[in-house]
């Protein structure tokens, strides 16, 4: 791996940096029972990794979810619960790539 001068790299490193590795012991569980598709969970997610389209379709991308619990806290119908981590956290990654390594990572 290469550390570049000035920490310069190609764009897209936010995707490479799997912030899901920051979770400690809990993650959101979307119950899909009472969801009204109000979209508050997605709007309040600091990582922008909650997606959904219509009632009872919302989910969090655990590759990036930091487990902060904001979504569960703001859900007006209590349809999101924080549950204990089940293991299998994504691995943290290094983000200083030279171009060759970066392209390799991007296609891996």
């Amino acid at each position: 791996m290469k550390v570049t001068t000035g920490a310069v790299g190609l764009p897209g490193t936010s995707r490479q940096n799997k912030t899901g590795s920051w979770r400690i012991n809990q993650r959101p569980h979307f119950l899909h029972i009472r969801c009204t598709a109000c979209d508050l969970c997605a709007l309040c997610c600091p990582e922008g990794c909650i997606y959904g389209n219509g009632r009872n379709t919302y989910y969090s991308d655990y590759e990036y979810c930091k487990g902060c619990g904001n979504c569960a806290a703001v859900c007006p119908v209590d349809d999101i619960e924080m549950e204990p981590e089940k293991g299998g956290l994504p691995e943290g990654v290094f983000v200083f790539y030279d171009e060759e390594e970066f392209r390799h990572m991007s296609t891996a």
Binding site: V3, A7, V8, G9, G92, V95, F96
Partner: protein, 418 residues
């Protein structure tokens, strides 16, 4: 080469114009304003083909230079005092992104109390930012260090921001004869900037990316290595400068009458001129006094400082700033290279704060001091009552090293390891 009568600020502005930065961005602050006003005039008249950006603060001015520099062009900004402190957050980023932004700091005291006059607390306070700091003794040097700053900053071994420091008013507003080279001469010395990376919409990049604990240390290590390389780059550039411009360029430091000196006065900036006068006067009375002018404060040229001082028995460090609660920051650097046995005792003095003149008497008072002091304030006024303290010099502040010396028996055993 033309010899002109110029104000220090004009000399710096003309030197900057000869380096043809693509982007100049600044926010006015006393006593720096004349530099950017002069540059703005040149841009407005079409004499200088730069983009001149008026920013809404020094933080913004430094940020504009950061962004412009990342596109791969030469940039310039200038500031003083609070303005430099406000730039501080950005300067660390500029250094971390390895962008060769050049700026001038017209040295001024920092608030509070509010004071617009000269000392060097502003730039000294940013010594750890990864910015190269070069201090000018006179207006010729202030101008010449601009060319040197660009050349060293843009050197691929270095790629760091560089700051030329000149004492507010004492240099910035003083008129002196200054040699201004021809554009051809400057071009011979300063090649066009060729960036390692640049922002380009056709090939997007991100600068100064997130670094987790696995790589941050290495990125900082690379900065330290670049600073070490800067010592070599400054030496080489200074040598080349002298060949092209046919005048001296003490890019690292200058030794004045130090050949057989037992006492050496070390300082930075315009106070060195006074120290040289004192050395001349005392040499006339048979005292072996010399002066070392430190030009490159960051990188701190350890070997050269050691070589310049090792023959002396007494070294006086005079500085216009203090690391409150410790000592003069320059004193600490100088002591760090002279800590072994049989090495000169290094004493630290704080003077010339907030525009108080550094006179021959100031320097003679330092020479008369016999204690091993770390931060002895010179020229303190005995007739002022300081609330809660009585008079200023009634309680001579105990030197840190005095306590240490008590534990170590004979002085010549090496007294600076406290």
């Amino acid at each position: 080469m033309v010899r002109k009568m110029l104000e220090g600020s004009q000399a710096v502005a003309q030197a900057v114009a000869l380096c043809r930065p693509a982007v100049i961005c600044a926010y006015p602050i006393t006593p720096q304003t004349h530099i950017v006003a002069e540059l703005a005039d040149m841009v407005a008249s079409g004499e200088l083909k730069s983009v001149y950006v008026n920013a809404d603060s020094e933080h913004s001015a430094a940020s504009v230079c950061l962004g412009a520099s990342a596109t791969g062009v030469r940039t310039f900004t200038s500031t003083s005092s609070q303005g430099l402190l406000l730039m501080g957050e950005v300067l660390f980023n500029i250094a971390g992104m390895r962008l060769p932004v050049v700026l001038s700091c017209v040295n001024r005291a920092v608030s509070a109390p509010l004071n617009i006059w000269n000392d060097q607390q502003d730039s000294l306070s940013l010594r750890d930012s990864g910015t190269i700091q070069l201090y000018a003794e006179n207006n010729q040097e202030a101008a010449d260090l601009i060319y040197l700053a660009y050349r060293v900053a843009e050197d691929h071994r270095v790629l760091l921001p560089a700051m030329v420091c000149l004492d507010g008013y004492i240099l910035s507003h003083a008129w002196e004869a200054v040699e201004i080279p021809t554009p051809k001469e400057v071009d011979a010395f300063l090649p066009p900037y060729s960036p390692l990376y640049k922002l380009d919409p056709e090939e997007p990049r991100t600068f100064g990316m997130y670094a987790n604990p696995e790589v941050y240390t290495e990125a900082r290590y690379m900065l330290q290595r670049a600073m070490e390389e800067a010592v070599t780059a400054i030496q080489e550039a200074s040598h080349n400068f002298e060949l092209i411009f046919s005048r001296p360029m003490p890019g690292i430091l200058e030794e004045y009458r130090t050949e057989d000196a037992t006492t050496v006065i070390l300082g930075m900036g315009s106070l060195v001129s006074v120290a040289k006068d004192v050395a001349d006067e005392l040499r006339g009375q048979g005292e072996k006094v010399g002066v070392v002018k430190l030009v490159s404060y960051r990188p701190f040229p350890k070997e050269m400082v050691y070589e310049a001082l090792k023959g002396a028995s007494d070294v006086l460090v005079l500085e216009k700033g203090i690391s409150l609660g410790s000592a003069g920051p320059l004193l600490l650097d100088v002591r760090s290279v002279l800590h072994g046995p049989h090495q000169p005792r290094v004493r630290g003095f704080v003077c010339g704060l907030g525009g108080r003149d550094v006179t021959r008497q100031t320097i003679k008072a330092a020479l008369a001091e016999k204690e091993l002091v770390d931060a002895r304030f010179l020229d303190l006024k005995a007739d002022l009552e300081l609330e809660g303290m009585g008079q200023a010099n009634r309680d001579r502040q105990p030197a840190l090293a005095r306590g240490a010396r008590r534990k170590r028996a004979p002085r010549k055993e090496g007294i600076n390891s406290a």
